[in-house]
Protein backbone atom coordinates (compact mmCIF):
# COMPACT_ATOMS: atom_id res chain seq x y z
CA UNK A 1 0.00 0.00 0.00
CA UNK A 2 2.64 2.47 0.93
CA UNK A 3 5.53 1.21 -1.18
CA UNK A 4 7.47 4.02 -2.77
CA UNK A 5 6.88 4.77 -6.40
CA UNK A 6 9.98 3.94 -8.43
CA UNK A 7 11.86 7.10 -9.38
CA UNK A 8 11.42 8.00 -13.01
CA UNK A 9 14.63 8.75 -14.78
CA UNK A 10 13.07 10.71 -17.61
CA UNK A 11 11.86 14.17 -16.81
CA UNK A 12 8.33 14.58 -18.02
CA UNK A 13 7.29 17.77 -19.72
CA UNK A 14 5.48 20.01 -17.31
CA UNK A 15 3.92 23.26 -18.40
CA UNK A 16 5.50 25.97 -16.29
CA UNK A 17 4.81 29.64 -16.63
CA UNK A 18 5.94 32.82 -14.99
CA UNK A 19 2.95 33.93 -12.95
CA UNK A 20 4.44 37.32 -12.16
CA UNK A 21 2.59 39.94 -14.20
CA UNK A 22 4.88 42.26 -16.05
CA UNK A 23 4.63 45.71 -17.51
CA UNK A 24 1.22 47.30 -17.46
CA UNK A 25 -0.52 44.47 -15.66
CA UNK A 26 -1.03 45.32 -12.02
CA UNK A 27 -0.71 42.58 -9.43
CA UNK A 28 -3.48 42.60 -6.83
CA UNK A 29 -3.25 40.72 -3.58
CA UNK A 30 -6.37 38.99 -2.20
CA UNK A 31 -6.84 41.93 0.20
CA UNK A 32 -6.23 44.59 -2.43
CA UNK A 33 -9.82 45.81 -2.17
CA UNK A 34 -9.48 46.36 1.59
CA UNK A 35 -7.02 49.17 0.85
CA UNK A 36 -4.88 48.41 3.88
CA UNK A 37 -2.42 51.12 2.85
CA UNK A 38 -5.12 53.79 3.18
CA UNK A 39 -6.24 52.39 6.53
CA UNK A 40 -2.63 52.38 7.67
CA UNK A 41 -2.23 56.02 6.70
CA UNK A 42 -5.05 57.10 8.99
CA UNK A 43 -4.35 54.79 11.87
CA UNK A 44 -5.97 55.96 15.06
CA UNK A 45 -4.40 55.55 18.49
CA UNK A 46 -2.29 52.57 19.35
CA UNK A 47 -3.74 49.14 19.80
CA UNK A 48 -2.99 45.68 21.04
CA UNK A 49 -3.13 44.02 17.64
CA UNK A 50 -1.09 44.97 14.60
CA UNK A 51 -2.22 43.54 11.27
CA UNK A 52 -0.20 43.46 8.10
CA UNK A 53 -0.64 41.54 4.88
CA UNK A 54 2.56 39.89 3.67
CA UNK A 55 1.30 40.25 0.15
CA UNK A 56 2.39 39.12 -3.28
CA UNK A 57 4.88 36.50 -2.15
CA UNK A 58 5.71 33.38 -4.11
CA UNK A 59 4.03 30.31 -2.60
CA UNK A 60 5.50 27.04 -3.86
CA UNK A 61 4.00 23.77 -2.70
CA UNK A 62 6.64 21.05 -2.75
CA UNK A 63 5.75 17.40 -2.62
CA UNK A 64 8.10 14.47 -2.55
CA UNK A 65 9.28 11.61 -0.41
CA UNK A 66 11.77 12.23 2.38
CA UNK A 67 13.40 9.01 1.16
CA UNK A 68 14.19 10.63 -2.18
CA UNK A 69 17.67 12.00 -1.48
CA UNK A 70 17.65 13.99 -4.70
CA UNK A 71 14.44 15.75 -3.66
CA UNK A 72 15.68 16.64 -0.19
CA UNK A 73 19.11 17.75 -1.43
CA UNK A 74 17.72 19.62 -4.44
CA UNK A 75 15.25 21.60 -2.31
CA UNK A 76 17.94 22.45 0.24
CA UNK A 77 20.32 23.58 -2.48
CA UNK A 78 17.84 25.71 -4.42
CA UNK A 79 15.96 27.20 -1.45
CA UNK A 80 19.05 27.71 0.69
CA UNK A 81 17.37 26.00 3.64
CA UNK A 82 16.76 22.32 4.28
CA UNK A 83 13.16 21.12 4.33
CA UNK A 84 12.08 20.68 7.96
CA UNK A 85 11.41 16.97 8.51
CA UNK A 86 10.16 17.29 12.07
CA UNK A 87 6.35 17.56 12.01
CA UNK A 88 4.79 21.00 12.55
CA UNK A 89 8.03 22.95 12.23
CA UNK A 90 9.30 25.62 9.88
CA UNK A 91 12.56 27.18 8.84
CA UNK A 92 13.18 30.77 7.86
CA UNK A 93 16.34 32.43 6.60
CA UNK A 94 14.90 35.90 6.17
CA UNK A 95 13.97 35.80 2.51
CA UNK A 96 12.79 32.18 2.22
CA UNK A 97 10.60 30.34 4.69
CA UNK A 98 9.51 26.72 4.49
CA UNK A 99 6.55 25.35 6.41
CA UNK A 100 5.97 21.66 7.07
CA UNK A 101 2.50 20.71 5.81
CA UNK A 102 2.60 16.92 6.01
CA UNK A 103 5.33 14.25 5.90
CA UNK A 104 5.63 14.66 2.13
CA UNK A 105 4.45 18.21 1.58
CA UNK A 106 5.97 21.63 2.31
CA UNK A 107 5.08 25.23 1.58
CA UNK A 108 8.02 27.38 0.52
CA UNK A 109 7.39 31.11 0.63
CA UNK A 110 9.85 33.05 -1.48
CA UNK A 111 10.08 36.56 -2.93
CA UNK A 112 7.60 36.76 -5.81
CA UNK A 113 10.15 37.83 -8.39
CA UNK A 114 12.23 34.75 -7.63
CA UNK A 115 9.40 32.21 -7.60
CA UNK A 116 9.61 31.30 -11.29
CA UNK A 117 13.39 30.97 -11.24
CA UNK A 118 13.26 28.85 -8.08
CA UNK A 119 10.58 26.63 -9.60
CA UNK A 120 12.68 26.07 -12.70
CA UNK A 121 15.82 25.43 -10.65
CA UNK A 122 13.95 22.88 -8.53
CA UNK A 123 12.75 21.05 -11.62
CA UNK A 124 16.30 20.99 -12.96
CA UNK A 125 17.87 19.89 -9.69
CA UNK A 126 15.50 17.13 -8.59
CA UNK A 127 15.26 13.63 -10.00
CA UNK A 128 12.51 11.13 -9.43
CA UNK A 129 8.94 11.50 -8.28
CA UNK A 130 8.17 15.00 -7.00
CA UNK A 131 5.84 17.93 -7.50
CA UNK A 132 6.28 21.69 -7.47
CA UNK A 133 3.17 23.86 -7.74
CA UNK A 134 3.17 27.63 -7.77
CA UNK A 135 0.08 28.56 -5.77
CA UNK A 136 1.04 32.20 -5.25
CA UNK A 137 -2.21 33.60 -6.62
CA UNK A 138 -4.33 31.29 -4.53
CA UNK A 139 -3.39 32.37 -1.04
CA UNK A 140 -1.96 35.17 1.02
CA UNK A 141 -0.35 35.64 4.41
CA UNK A 142 -1.79 37.83 7.13
CA UNK A 143 0.59 38.74 9.92
CA UNK A 144 -0.77 39.51 13.37
CA UNK A 145 1.50 40.92 16.03
CA UNK A 146 1.27 42.82 19.26
CA UNK A 147 0.49 41.82 22.85
CA UNK A 148 -3.14 40.90 22.09
CA UNK A 149 -2.58 39.04 18.82
CA UNK A 150 -2.71 35.74 20.69
CA UNK A 151 -6.07 36.71 22.22
CA UNK A 152 -7.52 37.27 18.77
CA UNK A 153 -6.24 33.86 17.69
CA UNK A 154 -7.71 32.21 20.77
CA UNK A 155 -11.12 33.43 19.69
CA UNK A 156 -10.59 32.09 16.21
CA UNK A 157 -8.99 28.67 16.43
CA UNK A 158 -9.04 25.55 18.60
CA UNK A 159 -5.26 25.16 18.58
CA UNK A 160 -3.44 25.26 21.91
CA UNK A 161 -1.39 28.44 21.55
CA UNK A 162 0.41 28.31 24.91
CA UNK A 163 4.18 28.77 24.41
CA UNK A 164 4.77 25.31 25.85
CA UNK A 165 2.59 23.79 23.13
CA UNK A 166 3.15 26.31 20.35
CA UNK A 167 6.77 27.53 20.43
CA UNK A 168 8.22 30.03 17.99
CA UNK A 169 8.63 28.39 14.60
CA UNK A 170 5.77 25.93 15.00
CA UNK A 171 3.29 25.56 12.15
CA UNK A 172 -0.15 24.02 12.37
CA UNK A 173 -3.11 23.86 10.06
CA UNK A 174 -6.46 24.02 11.76
CA UNK A 175 -9.95 25.37 11.66
CA UNK A 176 -9.90 29.14 11.88
CA UNK A 177 -13.02 31.27 12.25
CA UNK A 178 -15.13 28.52 10.65
CA UNK A 179 -12.73 28.57 7.71
CA UNK A 180 -9.21 27.17 7.84
CA UNK A 181 -5.75 28.62 8.06
CA UNK A 182 -2.16 27.57 8.43
CA UNK A 183 -0.92 29.22 11.61
CA UNK A 184 2.77 29.86 12.22
CA UNK A 185 4.32 31.51 15.22
CA UNK A 186 7.09 33.60 13.71
CA UNK A 187 8.02 35.39 16.94
CA UNK A 188 6.99 35.57 20.60
CA UNK A 189 4.16 37.97 19.71
CA UNK A 190 4.04 37.52 15.95
CA UNK A 191 1.84 35.11 14.05
CA UNK A 192 1.40 34.40 10.37
CA UNK A 193 -1.78 33.02 8.88
CA UNK A 194 -1.71 31.48 5.43
CA UNK A 195 -5.26 31.81 4.15
CA UNK A 196 -6.89 30.94 0.88
CA UNK A 197 -7.68 33.75 -1.51
CA UNK A 198 -11.40 33.06 -1.44
CA UNK A 199 -11.45 33.24 2.37
CA UNK A 200 -9.12 36.23 2.68
CA UNK A 201 -11.86 38.86 2.75
CA UNK A 202 -13.95 36.88 5.24
CA UNK A 203 -10.97 36.37 7.55
CA UNK A 204 -10.02 40.04 7.24
CA UNK A 205 -13.54 41.00 8.34
CA UNK A 206 -13.42 38.42 11.14
CA UNK A 207 -10.05 39.69 12.39
CA UNK A 208 -11.28 43.30 12.41
CA UNK A 209 -14.24 42.28 14.53
CA UNK A 210 -12.26 40.00 16.83
CA UNK A 211 -9.56 42.60 17.48
CA UNK A 212 -11.91 45.53 18.02
CA UNK A 213 -11.81 45.25 21.82
CA UNK A 214 -7.99 45.42 21.85
CA UNK A 215 -7.62 48.10 19.21
CA UNK A 216 -6.47 47.22 15.71
CA UNK A 217 -3.55 48.93 14.02
CA UNK A 218 -3.21 48.26 10.31
CA UNK A 219 0.23 48.44 8.76
CA UNK A 220 0.80 48.70 5.06
Amino acid sequence: MSEAIAPEKEVTNVAVMNQLPSGAIRAESPLHHAELDKLAARNPRGGGVILRELKLLGHLTLRGSQDNASFMAGCAEVLGVALPTKPLTSVDNGSVSVRWLSPDEWLAVVPMDQAFEIERSLRAAIEGHFQVVNGSGGQTIIELSGPNAVDVLKKSTILDLHPSQFPVGKVAGSVFAKASALVRRSGEDTWELVVRRSFADYIWLWLQDASREYGLVVKA
Partner: protein
Amino acid sequence: MLHIYCPHCEELREEEEFHCSGEAHIARPLDPDNCTDAEWGEYIFFRKNPRGIQHEMWYHTTGCRKFFNVTRDTQTYEIKEVYKIGEQPKVVAEG
Protein backbone atom coordinates in the same frame (compact mmCIF):
# COMPACT_ATOMS: atom_id res chain seq x y z
CA MET B 1 -15.64 15.84 21.49
CA LEU B 2 -12.94 13.32 20.73
CA HIS B 3 -9.30 14.12 21.24
CA ILE B 4 -7.54 12.39 18.37
CA TYR B 5 -3.83 11.71 17.99
CA CYS B 6 -2.68 12.31 14.42
CA PRO B 7 0.18 9.91 13.67
CA HIS B 8 1.53 12.27 11.00
CA CYS B 9 1.39 15.53 12.99
CA GLU B 10 2.35 13.50 16.06
CA GLU B 11 0.11 15.34 18.47
CA LEU B 12 -3.42 15.33 19.85
CA ARG B 13 -5.94 17.53 18.09
CA GLU B 14 -9.62 18.15 18.48
CA GLU B 15 -12.19 16.19 16.53
CA GLU B 16 -13.31 19.30 14.67
CA GLU B 17 -10.14 19.13 12.56
CA PHE B 18 -10.89 15.58 11.40
CA HIS B 19 -13.39 13.75 9.28
CA CYS B 20 -14.31 10.13 9.83
CA SER B 21 -14.21 8.15 6.59
CA GLY B 22 -15.85 4.97 7.80
CA GLU B 23 -14.68 1.40 8.22
CA ALA B 24 -11.02 0.66 7.49
CA HIS B 25 -9.40 -2.31 5.78
CA ILE B 26 -11.99 -2.66 3.03
CA ALA B 27 -10.20 -4.33 0.17
CA ARG B 28 -11.24 -3.33 -3.33
CA PRO B 29 -11.92 -6.40 -5.53
CA LEU B 30 -8.69 -7.12 -7.39
CA ASP B 31 -10.49 -7.85 -10.64
CA PRO B 32 -13.55 -5.56 -10.66
CA ASP B 33 -14.48 -6.42 -14.25
CA ASN B 34 -15.02 -10.05 -13.36
CA CYS B 35 -16.48 -9.95 -9.85
CA THR B 36 -20.12 -10.75 -9.30
CA ASP B 37 -22.76 -8.15 -8.47
CA ALA B 38 -22.90 -9.64 -4.97
CA GLU B 39 -19.16 -9.16 -4.47
CA TRP B 40 -19.29 -5.63 -5.84
CA GLY B 41 -22.33 -4.75 -3.72
CA GLU B 42 -20.60 -6.18 -0.67
CA TYR B 43 -17.58 -3.98 -1.32
CA ILE B 44 -19.55 -0.80 -2.01
CA PHE B 45 -22.44 -0.93 0.44
CA PHE B 46 -22.05 -3.43 3.25
CA ARG B 47 -20.26 -2.54 6.48
CA LYS B 48 -19.84 -4.46 9.72
CA ASN B 49 -21.25 -1.81 12.08
CA PRO B 50 -20.07 -3.69 15.19
CA ARG B 51 -20.91 -2.95 18.78
CA GLY B 52 -17.50 -2.70 20.41
CA ILE B 53 -14.12 -2.61 18.71
CA GLN B 54 -14.15 -1.08 15.26
CA HIS B 55 -11.30 -0.09 12.95
CA GLU B 56 -12.07 3.07 11.06
CA MET B 57 -10.36 5.52 8.77
CA TRP B 58 -9.96 9.16 9.72
CA TYR B 59 -8.85 12.11 7.65
CA HIS B 60 -7.00 15.09 9.14
CA THR B 61 -8.96 17.54 7.01
CA THR B 62 -7.63 20.89 8.19
CA GLY B 63 -4.23 19.67 9.31
CA CYS B 64 -1.86 17.49 7.32
CA ARG B 65 -4.61 16.17 5.01
CA LYS B 66 -3.53 12.55 5.50
CA PHE B 67 -5.62 9.47 6.17
CA PHE B 68 -4.89 7.15 9.08
CA ASN B 69 -6.64 4.39 10.99
CA VAL B 70 -8.18 4.45 14.44
CA THR B 71 -9.34 1.54 16.59
CA ARG B 72 -12.34 2.78 18.54
CA ASP B 73 -14.90 1.23 20.83
CA THR B 74 -18.28 2.14 19.40
CA GLN B 75 -19.94 1.69 22.80
CA THR B 76 -17.66 3.90 24.89
CA TYR B 77 -16.16 5.98 22.07
CA GLU B 78 -12.76 5.26 23.59
CA ILE B 79 -9.94 5.37 21.06
CA LYS B 80 -7.78 2.30 21.69
CA GLU B 81 -5.01 3.00 19.20
CA VAL B 82 -4.06 5.00 16.15
CA TYR B 83 -2.00 3.54 13.31
CA LYS B 84 -0.99 4.54 9.83
CA ILE B 85 -2.48 3.29 6.59
CA GLY B 86 -0.76 0.05 5.61
CA GLU B 87 -0.19 -1.01 9.20
CA GLN B 88 -2.21 -3.62 11.08
CA PRO B 89 -4.14 -2.96 14.29
CA LYS B 90 -2.82 -4.35 17.59
CA VAL B 91 -6.15 -4.15 19.35
CA VAL B 92 -8.75 -6.42 17.74
CA ALA B 93 -12.19 -7.61 18.78
CA GLU B 94 -12.28 -10.88 20.69
CA GLY B 95 -13.69 -13.95 19.01
